[in-house]
């Protein structure tokens, strides 16, 4: 290679120590010299001993808008099946039993649709029933949803045939079995979603694993009662259920405000934090006070029901967004593991 082939072209000085010295002199003459320690520059992205450029340690949840909506609808459908079973035992308004069975049944159509739509490969949805794994909440959820679908269909169909007027001694027991299985699987459906996100590596989720199933169940309870009220069943039972759910959500809202560590940060700050607060206020205190203050007014009850439904829906989105924010914060991961370490043992 000839000297003139060196990058920079002919006539330019050769790349050499002399050339570097010339550049240094030129830079020093024009004042374009940075003095001092390079690694100590203000705002320099030098990682400390505490994390790696503050880059996320965990992967954020990839779930899209379908999954929180599924949590919301699945909770309502599941608890509706419980209400249908219990009200059927107490020979409550057959009209309300019928609507509750229909809410559960419609849920069994919407839920799988939403979940399949969220899959990266929707056509492979049947792979969900390829194995049965106790240790995977997602696998358990697939089986729970399938069982719930069968039970809700059985109860709804038997009930409709009885209402149509076909007489058979077999029908009432079949309906009872459908209602009973629907109630059992419905309870699981409305609560397992809390286990699903509680048993993950995301700090804000697993640190609330004891709270989440009850939180989601209460949301399902209030949502189901609210929906029945919107269908015109402004009976004492739905009022009591609405009060209970709003009361529980108020307590849960207060509990969430108590802890302010790095792990809980997504519950208090940013998009997830504010959505969580507003949603919690709506389904908690707002719904509760509206229900108490205007207990004798149909409009008051419907307003409380509406507040609860909106709050419950938004709170599911807030929990998913909180998980995303938590995964992006490596310090939250470290903090949650320091807590385990100081306990001296893991949470076996």
């Amino acid at each position: 290679m000839a000297a003139t082939d060196i990058p920079g072209g002919p006539g330019r000085p050769k790349a050499s120590e002399e050339r570097l010295d010339a550049i240094r002199k030129e830079a020093s003459a024009t004042g374009k010299v940075v003095t001092g320690a390079g690694q100590a520059q203000a705002n320099a992205p030098i990682p400390g001993a505490e994390d790696y450029y503050n880059l996320p340690l965990l992967k954020p949840p990839t779930w899209t808008w379908e999954v929180p909506l599924y949590f919301f609808i699945g909770g309502i459908a599941g608890v509706s099946a419980v209400i249908a079973f219990v009200s059927s035992i107490f020979h409550a308004d057959p009209g309300m039993v019928r609507v509750a069975l229909w809410i559960a049944f419609v849920g069994t159509f919407l839920c799988p649709g939403l979940l399949i739509s969220d899959l990266g490969r929707p056509l492979r949805f049947l792979n969900m029933l390829r194995v049965f794994k106790w240790r995977s909440a997602m696998s358990m959820g697939s089986w729970i949803l399938s069982a719930f679908g069968g039970a809700a269909f059985l109860a709804m169909a038997a009930n409709e045939i009885i209402i149509y007027g076909i007489q058979s001694p077999l029908l009432p027991p079949v309906r009872w079995i459908g209602e009973f299985l629907g109630a059992v699987t419905g309870l699981l459906l409305a609560s397992y979603t809390g286990v699903l996100i509680g048993a993950t590596a995301i700090p804000v989720w697993h640190e609330h694993r004891r709270l989440l199933p009850g939180h989601f169940l209460a949301s399902g309870l209030g949502g189901s009662a609210a929906l029945l009220e919107f269908f015109g069943f402004l009976v004492p039972a739905t009022q009591i259920l609405g009060l209970a759910a709003a009361g529980i959500e108020t307590l849960i809202g207060f509990t969430l405000e108590l802890r302010h560590g790095r792990v809980e940060a997504p519950l208090h700050h940013g998009k997830s934090g504010w959505t969580m607060r507003i949603a919690g206020t709506l389904e908690g205190p707002v719904s509760l006070f509206v229900r108490i203050l205007w207990r004798d007014s149909a409009h008051g009850r419907l307003a409380a029901a509406g507040c609860f439904l909106v709050g419950a829906l938004c709170s599911r989105y807030a929990w998913i967004w909180a998980g995303r924010a938590s995964a992006h914060d490596p310090q939250a991961v470290f903090e949650s593991q320091r807590v385990v370490a100081t306990d001296g043992k893991t949470a076996h």
Binding site: G38, A40, P45, A49, K59, V86, A137, L188, L241, R338
Partner: protein, 257 residues
């Protein structure tokens, strides 16, 4: 039966990224984005669906081992090739609802692409943030431990390409001992903060990809006490059961009153 393992040594790595390239070429892993981060020479940032080896570049104001000069303003540049840990108790494997993720005969954790339906539960169940969903493919991907090469009697592409033997591939227990010996040697030579990263004491139960590092694991975005998320199942299900019973009681009361 022999269990395969990696021992990746930060004190030998020169940051050439040959492992990243070899992995991409052999496994036909697609482009993972061209981003200039300004984080030293690390423009890869993290492991992911299309990044199965990731060379980290740490710039630390600390003394490099037996360094004698420049003690007032110390500086060290550390490189480490990160990879899927192939955990003893793997969160992704436990979470997978389709059985797509399996334990292979060499002890590694493998995502079977022909079964995975992209539910995304493994993504939130990995305590190391390794496995991820690839867009627009839709399925989850991560390091395969070059299972195809191992089945054909070859060593993984990254270990084969590593020019300094920073990435060692071999039998798990042998490499575990080699890691301890290496750290003892480093300590003896003045690298007092050298340690093996292999979380044996936590519920993850050790990994098939161990690391020799300088300083604390947090600086490498390695969790100090990673837990397999299945340990949270018992308390979460217990809470679900109690809540469910309470709910049934409430509904009964509502219709009784």
């Amino acid at each position: 039966m022999n269990k395969a393992a990696f021992l990746t040594d930060a004190t030998i790595c020169i940051g050439c990224k040959a492992c990243e390239v070899a992995c991409k070429e052999w496994n036909e892993v697609p482009d993972d984005g061209m981003i200039w981060t300004g984080f030293s020479y690390d423009n890869t940032q993290a492991l992911g669906a299309s990044t199965w080896r990731h060379v980290m570049f740490l710039e630390q104001p600390a003394v490099a081992g037996p360094q004698q000069v420049d003690m007032e303003d110390p500086f060290r540049w550390i490189f480490l090739s990160d990879v899927c840990k192939h955990c003893g108790n793997a969160g992704c494997l436990e979470a997978c609802p389709t059985g797509a993720i399996v334990r292979t005969d060499v002890g590694s954790v493998l995502v079977q692409s022909d079964v995975c339906n992209g539910c995304g539960y493994c993504v939130v169940s990995c305590p190391f943030g390794v496995v991820d969903k690839r867009h627009p493919d839709g399925r989850a991907f991560k390091c395969t431990f070059c299972y195809d090469r191992q089945s054909a009697g070859m060593i993984p592409a990254c270990a084969k390409a590593c020019p300094t033997q920073s990435i060692r591939f071999g039998e798990l227990e042998e490499l575990r001992e080699a890691g301890v010996a290496r750290v003892a040697d480093l300590q003896h030579r003045g690298y007092t903060d050298a340690q093996v990263y292999d979380p044996l004491e936590t519920s993850v139960g050790g990994t098939h990809a161990m690391f020799v590092i300088l300083g604390q694991p947090e600086a490498y975005n390695l969790p100090p006490a990673p837990q397999v998320p299945t340990i949270y199942l018992k308390s979460a299900w217990t809470s679900a059961l109690i809540s469910a019973l309470a709910l049934v009681a409430i509904v009964f009361l509502a219709f009784l009153l």
